[in-house]
């Protein structure tokens, strides 16, 4: 191992917490860090929102599969000389349509289909990478992400996708929630349950593709599942939970970028670790009914009964 001992790197990291403004100024003096913060924040908003619906619909396995199928898409796009974002988007949407064959909701027969789609997609990715040996070194960065090489064009693309996805969710979020919570009643009321299921998978595919392009598969999945799972433990109210999910995702991204900047350890490790710490905290709060007691203590009025 070269370089100074690891403990030495913790000193500037601790100093960054003591003076966050100076730390931000130091980081934002570097254009690649500015783009990392921009892209990370957008990814947090997009994945935090889409992830909350994914968790509520119990589609974590499908979400994981969608985040890894971007890899063969990107590798295939490089192989044929197409734009990489098109590869990501094409692969995730194709996978979403394949998964949508079963209606997309979690069921006993779904696991085999989702697993087969995922393994086949990854096998194709490996073949593409093996055929184009120049990309082999980039495999781990495609899978595990490198948020430090993001261009301004990628940030703009992510921003456009985020705004579009939020607009779609704002327009159809209530219907999606209805279908998620009670598909039988929603169907009886004339809501197209199957169409909504497939439409959500496609939306998730677009959100995942845009996120994976800047963060890699692992971090996209981390942003989808961890903040949403934490928010779900803390509150059952959809609007509060959505806000909390986005807030936790953004906090994890900012904290991880800062710590990764001042320590020699990779951003991916910090993001998953910090977001997982948040999840454990949420589980602990839920397990010991801390929040319920707090609400009872502070809001004993009629507002509580409505919740």
């Amino acid at each position: 191992m070269t370089g100074p001992p690891h403990a030495v790197h913790l000193v500037p990291a601790l100093a960054a917490w003591l003076d966050p403004v100076a730390a931000l100024r130091e980081m934002w003096a570097l254009p690649f860090m500015v783009n990392a913060f921009r892209a990370g924040t957008l990814a947090a908003v997009l994945a935090g929102t889409a992830g909350w619906f994914m968790v509520a619909r119990r589609q974590t396995f499908a979400g994981h599969t969608l985040s890894v199928v971007g890899f063969p898409g990107a590798a295939g796009a490089v192989l044929v000389g197409a734009p990489v974002w098109l590869g990501y988007l094409g692969a995730t949407m194709l996978a979403a349509l394949a998964l949508g064959r079963t209606g997309g909701r979690r069921g006993e027969g779904d696991g085999a289909l989702i697993g087969t789609v995922q393994a086949f997609a990854l096998a194709c990715g490996f073949w593409f990478v093996a055929s184009y040996s120049g990309l082999l070194g980039g495999t781990t960065s495609l899978l595990f992400g490198s948020i430090l090489g993001i261009t301004s064009g990628q940030v703009t693309f992510l921003a456009v996708v985020t705004v579009a996805a939020l607009a779609v969710l704002a327009a159809s979020g209530r219907r999606l929630l209805f279908v998620t919570v009670d598909p039988a009643v929603a169907g009886a009321r004339g809501v197209g349950v199957r169409r909504t299921d497939v439409a959500f998978l496609l939306l998730l595919a677009v959100a995942v593709a845009a996120t994976v392009e800047v963060t890699g598969a692992l971090l996209a999945f981390a942003l989808l599942v961890l903040p949403a799972a934490s928010a779900q433990r803390v509150t059952a109210r959809p609007a509060t939970a959505l806000g909390l999910s986005v807030l936790m995702a953004a906090t994890a991204v900012w904290a991880a970028l800062t710590v990764a900047f001042y320590t020699p350890y990779p951003f991916g490790f910090w993001l998953t670790t910090l977001a997982f710490a948040g999840y454990l905290l949420a589980v602990a709060l839920d397990r010991w009914h801390v929040l319920t007691r707090w609400r009872h203590a502070w809001r004993p009025s009629a507002r509580w009964r409505h919740g």
């Binding site: 994981h64 006993e108 027969g109 696991g111 086949f120 073949w127 082999l136």
Partner: protein, 296 residues
Amino acid sequence: MAPVGPVAARVTGMLSHPFMVHALVAGTAVALVAGPLGYLLVLRGQVFAADALSHVTFTGALAALVAGLDLRLGLLGAGLAGALGLGLLGRRGRPDDVVIGAVFVFVLGLGVLFLSLYSRGRSGGGGTTGVGVLFGSVLGLDAGQATATAVLAGAVLLALAVVGRPLLFATVDEAVAQARGVPVRLLGVAFLGLVGTTAAQATQVVGALLILGLLAAPGGAAARWSARPAVAVPLAAAIAVGSVWVGLGASYALPSMPPSFSVIATATAVYAVTAAVRGIRGGTRRGSVLEATGPH
């Protein structure tokens, strides 16, 4: 290029390479275990847990490399620890999908840390090792590794034969099994342990990312062809073994195609044909298995 001639001559030619024989032995052993385990995973609705376990072995392998230990020790340790963790987290040994996702994304994050530590230690060699663990290197196995894989697979098969009947009972009708005194939770954890062991040994054959295909596709296809476990279990094993043989043969004929790809592509093709013929939903419901197995 492969020699031109009748099929038999080609097969003889293929078997004249020791590395091909090792690959066939290890691949067949893993497939014999992966088929039946995959069928049970599909019945139990636990394919995602297998996905998580196979990813966890990646972190274990890299941790072992960083610590300077044997790669296989890390794979097996992580597979078993992951199985125990998932089994204890869930109610009756079946954790919820959100819990699985949250835990395994954290474990993968640790894998990223180990990968960076390892690559830094040996100036950029870690990327290729990581790729080897992720996608397997079946053609690089020596005689000792192939034998070890076969022995371990035999042990898992033996264990599966012992717990198979009560496990199936606990799978198709958990409440009744529990009432009859079947240790449902213990069986669930033991089953995940077998999956973790298989994922660990299979990582060397098809890789941490692709073992899922050898579990899900043959198991899912077999469940759609027959609701009777006595038929579906051997069928799943046969599909998995057939996929390995066809895949290895195809890679021998077309050396530009990695064996991991052709094995998974064959299994996927079997699954796709099954889904097209039998319908995407048919035959995988626990109710139909309960009917087929009759009263207990």
